[in-house]
């Protein structure tokens, strides 16, 4: 049977290890290797990349011989919304300011839940925004604007 289906965990983990290991090995070739006596910047990463590739190869080979447990449910919606809301917050926080970026972060991320409701999330967004402005801005002096540069501040 197909190893990707039969032992997906071993196969993909090994694949990632080989990918990262070989990538790091290729990049390391641009650095100075040095000698054991005087290790250059490439010395340690080269050792590690080779080691990682070996581990990856064993893992992939193992997926051909040994069956494993399936990957299981993936919370795609949760993953996408959590990551998207975080990225969005980072992109607009300076421009729009906390008063817009925070409620958006709360509502977009909250919509990942199966129990999402507009009413409670809006209330939570207001509460969290006020709390963060008081604690982080006024209290701890984090340099973030309440209303951002897009509004002429």
């Amino acid at each position: 049977m197909n190893p990707i289906a039969r032992n997906a965990k071993d196969f993909w983990t090994g694949f990632i290890y080989i990918f990262v290991g070989s990538g790091a090995l290729i990049i390391s070739r641009d650095y100075d290797m040095g000698t054991a006596l005087k290790m250059g910047p490439a010395y340690f990463p080269t050792l590690l990349s080779v080691l990682l590739m070996v581990i990856g190869i064993i893992s992939v080979l193992r997926s051909f011989f040994k069956s494993g447990s399936p990957i299981g449910v993936v919370a795609w919606k949760g993953l996408v919304l959590i990551v998207a809301s975080t990225l969005l917050f980072g992109m607009i926080v300076r421009g729009a300011g906390l008063i817009i970026a925070l409620p958006l972060l709360v509502i977009v991320s909250a919509s990942a839940s199966v129990r999402f409701s507009w009413k409670t999330s809006l209330a939570e967004a207001v509460g969290i925004t006020v709390f963060c402005i008081v604690i982080f801005l006024k209290g701890l002096g984090v340099p973030l604007p309440i209303l951002g540069s897009w509004f002429g501040n």
Binding site: A24, F44, G90
Partner: protein, 499 residues
Amino acid sequence: MELLANLGLGLSTSLTPLNLLYCLIGVFLGTLIGVLPGLGPTATIAMLLPVTFTLPPVSALIMLAGIYYGSQYGGSTTSILVNVPGEAASVVTALDGYQMARQGRAGVALTTAAVGSFFAGTVATIILALFAPPLAAVALKFGPAEFFSLMVLGLLAAIVLARGSLLHAAGMVVLGLLLGLVGTDVNSGAQRFTFGILRLADGIGFVVVAMGMFGLAEITRNLENEGDRSTVVKKVANLMPTREDWKRMIGPILRGTAIGSALGILPGSGSILGSFAAYAIEKKVSKNSKEFGKGAIEGVAAPESANNAGAQTSFIPMLTLGIPSNPVMALMIGAMIIQGIQPGPSVITEQPKLFWGIIVSMWFGNLFLVILNLPMIGMWVRIVSVPYQLLFPAILVFCSIGVFSLNNTEFDIYVMAFFAVLGYLFVKLDCEPAPMLLAFILGPMMEEYMRRALLLSRGDPMVFITRPISATLLALGALAIIAASLPAMHKKREEAFRE
């Protein structure tokens, strides 16, 4: 007698109103995040790290330490009342704790957990005070080869103690070591793996990685099965165990404390494994082994003692060697560096107030925890009932603002999001993130020690095997790996984590 003088110094340091206050704040926050499922000590301490800049070093570390062992305490409350472990180390407590709660014995279960934790905490504090100084004295004689081998041993132990496949854990460690090298090479000034991104020249922030992999990835994982949440046991009456209960909990508490203290020192998931191992052993030795899983008081007493003891003894490698045994300790080291203290074996002699202050504060912290957790249990019950769909957006907000405030740059928010994806991916592939984070911290240190050791030996790699202490450390590591991969042990290891 020197010990008494030292404890006196610690007492005078930790008994100042300011430090007592920070200890209380620490254990209070710790209990809070322990009670709340989906928010662990790693993410919390990472979030609070920027706040500690402004505090005096002793107060900052006392508070952060309190958060860590406080969270182990609070985790049991959620396990018992909701059947959802508040912390990874409280997973096994839920097995019997929740059953006790369903039989109307929630109060007794909570008291058992508190008594066990307090006893374990007290013993672990004494162990810390007794064993840390001689260990630091030995470590002062270490050369670069010994430190390198010690880190190899630490990482090998982290592999053995990780959940799931040994091979995957080994890969995670190497991956972590590589990630730790991103940035400017201290020796040559060369930019490594920065892809021309200027912001990466100082390397990837550990806190950013920790929040992504432990904060955000954990939220995503929790969103997988939101549906099945057991009913919350809201009524907690009669905290007092009966005579029979007391009798039955003594043995498990003693054994749990011993197992937890020993395993806590080990790197990786030492304190988590401690609670699993204590439960498994108790199930074997107990006269009431048939009751396990149906509300046996031993099944609460043993793991709760073990995880609290382990949480405290895990400070030993950090305080004596300057080497973190888990991500939380790595953050503590970060806090020390921020405060201008060089972590390592010299901390005891150069910063005795700090060292003994932290140790003695742990005992007070444990005392606070008993008060916070038993008479004030009603408050925590209400907090447990906060629905997760309200909780996780708030966690996300705190992580985002916290990460931003580290260097006042949005770039760190993007990096955190990247590690959230990576963290979730690895969770799905059964690769535990803790060993990777540990390796991430140790990566640059290991490279530096390896370079110095090879420089001293004129490039001869045999130096790691010809120096006796270094050779012993490496042999121990090799032994641990060989033992864990033997078929018989392999099965045992899987069992210990599966319970």
